[in-house]
């Protein structure tokens, strides 16, 4: 067993904490988003759904709480999709030749970048959860301290696997692209459909059939399922829609994310094995 991937991890985290501006921005961005978009939308949605009735004894959650899970998911998506960009810069202007010419197996580069990206996503998710509590997101209703800790672990598990998948994808794209402009274009192209064809900010029940099917194959939907299950519960009403998650549903979502991450690793591995940078 060799541990060179820890070196890649070390170096990427070093850069992360060194760039204070990038660090602070990456933490403020989801908070800002939740504060502005959440505040704006939640008043709209509560007006729209004011006529809808929730059965007695059922749990109804506010839109802010509903979308809090979505914000965790979307932030993880954006951060992870751009997580590999450092490889493109390394390739064009920096360390990549040094790394590729070293005896270190190349999959260590992918794994190292993956782990540092996951760490960043963990930090962001924790910040969002903490900030959410401040502005009125009601996560973990009636949970004991132990249950809360368990729920947070569950959320991070989902976030971690999801994040790895997109970091591997991002690494593969970065390694293939010639310019940052090209990378930006491809990632934007990917982001928007993933974003809109998901249940992050609104329910998918009302989607047209085709979009609904697509959203079932969207890793973002599966991440949001997991986060909502752990953060809100397995049976609740939001925006007039009844959400029920069985343990099976959640396991399937988790499995889908694992399959996705594994597939993306293979893609990235292939790209790195054959990569020629001179």
């Amino acid at each position: 067993m060799s541990y060179e991937f820890l070196t890649i991890y070390w170096r990427d985290m070093l850069r992360f904490v060194r760039f204070r501006i990038a660090l602070v921005a990456s933490l403020i961005q989801p908070a800002l988003w939740m504060a502005l978009y959440g505040a704006a939308m939640s008043s709209n949605f509560s007006r729209l759904s004011s006529g809808m009735t929730v059965p007695d004894c059922a749990v109804a959650v506010s839109y802010l709480t509903f979308m809090g899970a979505g914000v965790i998911a979307l932030t993880t998506l954006f951060t992870s999709l751009f997580g590999g960009i450092t490889l493109l810069f390394d390739k064009n202007w920096g360390l990549m030749r040094e790394l590729l010419a070293s005896p270190m197996p190349r999959n260590h580069i992918i794994i190292g970048i993956g782990l540092s990206g996951v760490t960043k996503s963990f930090i962001q998710s924790m910040v969002i959860m903490a900030f959410g509590l401040v502005i009125g997101v009601r996560f973990f209703p009636g949970y004991s301290l132990l249950q809360r800790a368990g729920a947070i672990m569950g959320i991070l598990l989902f976030v971690g696997v999801f994040s790895l998948g997109f970091l591997f994808l991002s690494s593969a794209i970065s390694m293939t692209m010639e310019t940052p402009e090209g990378l930006q274009a491809v990632i934007t192209l990917l982001t928007l459909p993933l974003f809109f064809a998901s249940n992050a900010l609104y329910p998918i029940d009302a989607f047209p059939g085709a979009v609904r099917i697509i959203s079932q194959f969207n890793p973002l939907t599966h991440l949001v399922n997991g986060v909502r299950y752990f953060a809100i519960g397995d049976d609740f009403y939001a925006i007039g829609v009844h959400y029920v998650y069985s343990v099976n549903d959640v396991l399937i979502s988790f499995l889908a994310l694992i399959v996705f991450a594994a597939a993306m690793f293979l893609v990235a591995w292939r790209v790195f094995k054959t990569a020629v940078v001179t």
Partner: protein
């Protein structure tokens, strides 16, 4: 056999239809400074990229430090150090971190690694700069750091791809001092450059390469002597008489009278010929006012073998894809 640390046989490499390296064979002896000399685009970097395992071996065979490039690339990587042509530093890591990273990806144990970092920083005289990010280093310091990094793992061969490109004369001279020092301590140096004068000064052996082929090889001295074209410049009080006397000498190929004096081209070693010329002139009562001897440079060697100047050769990069007639 055992004293050759690099063996290359029949190396070929093509980018699509374009053959960048066209059947190159050579060997490098342990402990020498070996230079690959040629204009930009001659195929030097392609060869160095193949030998450092950054490009796959398409055709031919090569071994470094006894390891086969095709079968044992990892051992090859562990035996070599590389200073790339372009800067390959993370600008936001410090000098110390740059070396630490290198030691770690080459799996150096911590104690040895830390000790070696101290040694290297001293060797390349960056003691004051250990905690400085590489973006704030001057061009020469960056190069020194990269050379130091290449030496971290005590490689048997250090590859230097155009190490002095873009640096000023003083910095270049200092870098060569380092490189010679490294070589003196036993590391074989594989060098590519298009600066003829630098290669001339430091190399034990030179291969001149053009259009992906080796066109001449030898020690710098032998390459230049093989041309046999030393030039003597003379100023006398009677050029006409002097011309007659010098013409009679067997070694003289050509003599020209210019406003600056006489220009004599000879096909023998000028250092031996010049005293004879001078004594003959004195015997005839001709006074010599000044004398100068010019040995051919590697530039002359290059022009001789390729028919063009190395400085202009790079400009022919594009047309070379067409067949080369007449050479």
């Amino acid at each position: 056999m055992s004293e050759n640390i690099i063996e290359v046989d029949g190396l070929e490499y093509s980018y699509g239809n374009f053959k960048a390296v066209d059947g190159v064979s050579f060997s490098v002896r342990e402990g020498e400074i070996f230079s690959f000399l040629g204009p930009n685009g001659a195929g030097k970097s392609t060869v160095i990229n193949i030998l450092t395992t950054l490009l796959p071996l398409q055709k031919g065979s090569a071994s470094i430090a006894g390891f086969d490039l095709a079968k044992e690339p990892e051992q090859v990587r562990r035996s070599i150090g590389i200073v790339f042509q372009d800067e390959t530093l993370d600008r936001d890591l410090t000098v110390w971190e740059t070396l630490e990273l290198h030691g770690r990806i080459y799996s150096m144990p911590k104690v040895e690694r830390r000790q070696r970092i101290d040694e290297i920083i001293k060797l390349v005289e960056l003691q004051e700069k250990g905690d400085v990010r590489t973006r704030y280093l001057s061009g020469g310091m960056k190069r020194r750091l990269e050379i130091g990094r290449g030496l971290m793992t005590r490689p048997q061969v250090l590859f230097l791809d155009e190490p002095t490109i873009g640096l000023d004369t003083q910095t270049r001279r200092r870098l060569w001092d380092y490189i010679k020092m490294v070589n003196d301590s036993g590391t074989t140096i594989f060098l590519t450059t298009h600066y003829m004068d630098e290669a001339d000064l430091v190399s034990n052996w030179i291969e001149i390469v053009d259009f992906g082929k080796i066109i001449a090889s030898g020690t710098p001295l032998r390459l230049k002597d093989a041309l046999g074209r030393d030039v003597i410049y003379l100023q006398t009080d009677n050029d006409d008489a002097a011309t007659g006397i010098i013409k009679a000498l067997k070694a003289v190929l050509n003599i020209k009278a210019t406003s600056q004096g006489l220009v004599v081209t000879i096909n023998a070693d000028g250092t031996r010929c010049l005293p004879i010329v001078m004594s003959r002139l004195r015997e005839s009562g001709i006074e010599i006012k000044s004398v100068n001897l010019k040995k051919p440079t590697l530039d002359d060697v290059f022009v001789h073998y390729t028919g063009r100047d190395i400085r202009n050769a790079g400009a022919e990069k594009l047309p070379r894809i067409q067949p080369r007639g007449g050479r």
